[in-house]
Symmetry: C2
Subunit: 160 residues, 2 copies
DNA sequence: CGAACGCGGATAGTTGTCATCCGCGTAGGA
DNA sequence: TCCTACGCGGATGACAACTATCCGCGTTCG
């Protein structure tokens, strides 16, 4: 059970976008994080389709957060990249074999699926409780207040 | 982010084993659940290596739970099949690029990794709170008390 | 001894992730 | 008007993981 590495990239990009003054192009985000430009573009497109991010086309274009960073939860970012499907998929094996449960008893999900769903709900709730703004605050806590000052300078240099 | 289908098989097998009077061979478990015998064998070997299940070799051999069903958590079964690695793997991209965080600031995990780890901890806690005995009780609740009577009969017919 | 069983390795088919490239449309500046 | 920088979507391919099967080996019991 592994999460795509694109999730990590997407989250960090959202944190950076929360500090940007204008649109940030893919190439800048890729250079900043030291990752593949073309592949990062794919994940940014996913964020765009999910509505978390807005793209400005044409020259001087780039990406912007669509909402305030405090309104964007980590869960939204993860699901934009990973998709909404739960990790556990019940195949209803209780309906297989010689002792198959009667369909009448299968109107509700089986106990195994219920327990798995509850665990994933706990996971999603935890992610939903963290916003991009919280993550940005964590960076300041770890790296000092001037951490984002350097970032804004570097982004502005790109716009020359 | 998908979980292996083998997890579902393994969990259902544990519930069945909790109701068995003696060793149950792989072929019987596979027939009962309508799944591939050879592939299920792989997952049962994983449970065996994890110590959740004990194998009796030779003729009339098969699998037994090593502990009381109330002592076996769903988390143990999931991790026996899926492995212990977390779904999110931090690649420390904060140390990449022109504005890399100083190594000194990276002694602790980055905020993103911390949030992800907290969510996975919530997931594991939820799974740890459910035992195989709880799942068996759920089957009785859904299918009536005689659900496992038929199962025990069917398993005994195999030993006939 | 023979039959039934678990164990481990070898082997593929299929799917999903990771990554790259190209052509297209769009917007701003010279 | 043209050029350039940019996002978008499709096509493509390398690689790993999951899914599935088979075989030979050792063990146990009648």
């Amino acid at each position: 059970m592994k999460m795509s590495a694109g999730v990590e990239w997407a989250v960090h990009c959202c944190v950076v976008l929360s500090q940007a003054d204008g649109p940030v192009p893919t190439a800048r985000l890729a250079e900043l994080h030291g990752v593949s430009r073309t592949y990062l573009a794919k994940h940014l497109q996913q964020l765009s389709r999910a509505g978390l991010v807005r793209s400005t086309e044409g020259r001087d274009g780039g990406y912007l957060l669509t909402k305030d960073a405090a309104e964007v939860s980590l869960l939204e970012v993860v699901q934009a990249v990973e998709g909404p499907e739960p990790a556990f998929r019940c195949t209803e094996i209780r309906q297989n074999g010689p002792l198959a449960a009667r369909p009448a008893a299968c109107r509700s999900a089986c106990g195994v699926a219920r327990a798995m769903a509850a665990a994933e709900h706990a996971w999603r709730s935890s992610l939903a409780g963290v916003s991009v703004a919280d993550l940005a605050a964590g960076v300041v806590e770890d790296n000092g207040r001037q951490a984002f000052v350097g970032l804004r300078d570097w982004l502005a240099r790109g716009r020359g």
